[in-house]
Amino acid sequence: MAVARRNFDAVVVGAGGAGLRASLQLAEAGLSVAVLSKVFPTRSHTVAAQGGIGAALGNMGEDSWLWHMYDTVKGSDWLGDQDAIEFMVREAPKLVYELEHFGMPFDRNENGTVYQRPFGGHSQNFGERPVQRSCCAADRTGHAMLHTLYQRNVRARTQFFVEWMALDLVRDAKGEVLGVTALEMETGEVMVLHARATLFATGGAGRIFSSTTNAFICTGDGLGMAARVGIPLEDMEFWQFHPTGVAGAGVLITEGVRGEGGYLLNKGGERFMERYAPNLKDLASRDVVSRAMATEIKEGRGAGPHGDYLLLKLDHLGPEVIDKRLPGIREIAKKFADVDPVKDPIPVVPTVHYMMGGIPTNYRGEVVVPQGGDPEAVVPRFYAAGECACASVHGANRLGTNSLTDLLVFGKAAAESMIKFLQENPGHKDLPKDAAERTQARLARLDGQKNGESVAEVGMEIRRTMQAHCGVFRFPDMLAKGVKKIREIADRATRTQVKDKSRVFNTARVEALELDNLIEAARASMVSAEARRESRGAHDRADHHSRDDANWLKHTLWYKDGDRLEYKPVHMKPLTARSIEPKVRTY
């Protein structure tokens, strides 16, 4: 069947912070740019970012990109690539000033400069004392940034394809990327968007976990599309967790609750943190509390019908203290846990909120894969930026505020690389005849499936399995079983069925297509985590408590084909600075 086709200089998939920063650069360079987004651009998940943008402006006291670099490398537990990190922290101040000139409503100091807020993990003079480095717009920095960038894009005449879902990458016989196939939800029709260069800015895949702070759209679409055409996914075992998200909902309960005297109970009503941290108890650090919670659940002391959460008790504080010192908590608990914490404990569980891994890129935003002895050969015409990409600046754990920095810096860097490439390589390459074949086969399979699997049930199984087997604290037996289970679920995912076969705005069909992406992200995470026999950053194993630089100072690459794993070296050499040598990570 013939598939309609449109030509663009550049196609950008995703309209969050990275996609919009990139498309702005491309459109202002006079290129024809199509930006595809499943939802209206200002409803992208970037709006949820509250912390701010990390950049060493030095507005609140002395600061240096070298110190920001040190904090980022240390935060990454030395798995971050030091050339990419140097690039990001040196570019960051310029990108913040650009955003200021675009009209971003930053908070200000009395002297008119951008105010910078303190944030954990940021220091002066290589860890000596805290520094204020986070540029923010109250608690809605992501929201303000997204709206600012969207307005700028409208001005630059970027073409938006809203409520379009990219389905598959188009690669020719040489492996060059020539655009994407995409579904227009309104009509249900598939189109080939033929591009001279393609950028993925599709965000994270937090929806593979049952407890996640991520919005419903975060289904790892870029990861699935890349994996299906043989591009590996890097460092997918590294997921950042917060100890207390409302079980089943994912909405965060601030750490202030424990600070004010709230504490955790298991199903027997035992204050279990007394066993794990006799002195600090519930005020121990995030990883200690999360690990204790995971152990309680693993050993059968979790509460609830599935024994998969713990209870956060604060009724003993009394309604006055709760209302006065913890505003909003009662509302969130009532709304999302259906309990009034004045009377009953809140069910909580360690909750995923950021994916450190993704599509492997260099610091120029070019997608790179091992080829002919080169661990990082460029995939021509293919770029990635933001949470879906692994540059890698976050390594094994992301430093707070660096996610927005990442979006801005690498969104722009990828666009600059695309502009340069397009100047040197005029004209479109011919599309292969089978450009839409993979997509048409997927849709035909879905439309024709009989006696198939329910999309909702398979999705639930993915989330439950990831949460139980690949959570914040990882046990070797659970990981091994998890690999087996996720492969079984992957097999079921090839037989999903939707009852509604209609074309126009068929959301059931869209959700089935999203599931094809979720399962790849889940398999990559589980298999990579099972194989990495050390603890580093956010990957915490019960059988290997320490970081093992002799054997594991390397990036994981997972290939969909046979769940194959390869590894590649970490870039320890920055662009110009001195290398920051690994040492024990203490705060």
């Binding site: 200002t42 709006v47 929201h143 709206h147 419903f216 509302e331």
Partner: protein, 81 residues
């Protein structure tokens, strides 16, 4: 008149937001009130869906009061979801 399947799907998709808190509330709202969504109530709901995530959550969580009397009923229903 009740909405067609397609109209309902469009409305459901508009409830996909950048902020999880809003999505969870909107999902429950549709579960509870989809059948009675018509006329002024539907128009009010659509207006609220055009709000930014930040504005919507401020209203739903009670951090801000709704200045528009035409939206008051639906805001109240959302707060109770």
């Amino acid at each position: 008149m009740n909405m067609t399947n397609v109209e309902m799907n469009r409305l459901r998709w508009s409830c996909r937001r950048g902020l999880l808190e809003n999505e969870l509330v909107l999902e429950r709202f549709l579960h509870a009130h989809a059948a009675s969504l018509e006329g002024e109530r539907l128009a009010a709901f659509r207006t609220l869906l055009d709000y930014s995530d930040d504005e919507l959550w401020s209203l739903v969580s009670g951090r801000r009061e709704c200045g528009d009397p035409a939206l008051g009923e639906v805001v109240e229903l959302l707060r109770n979801c």
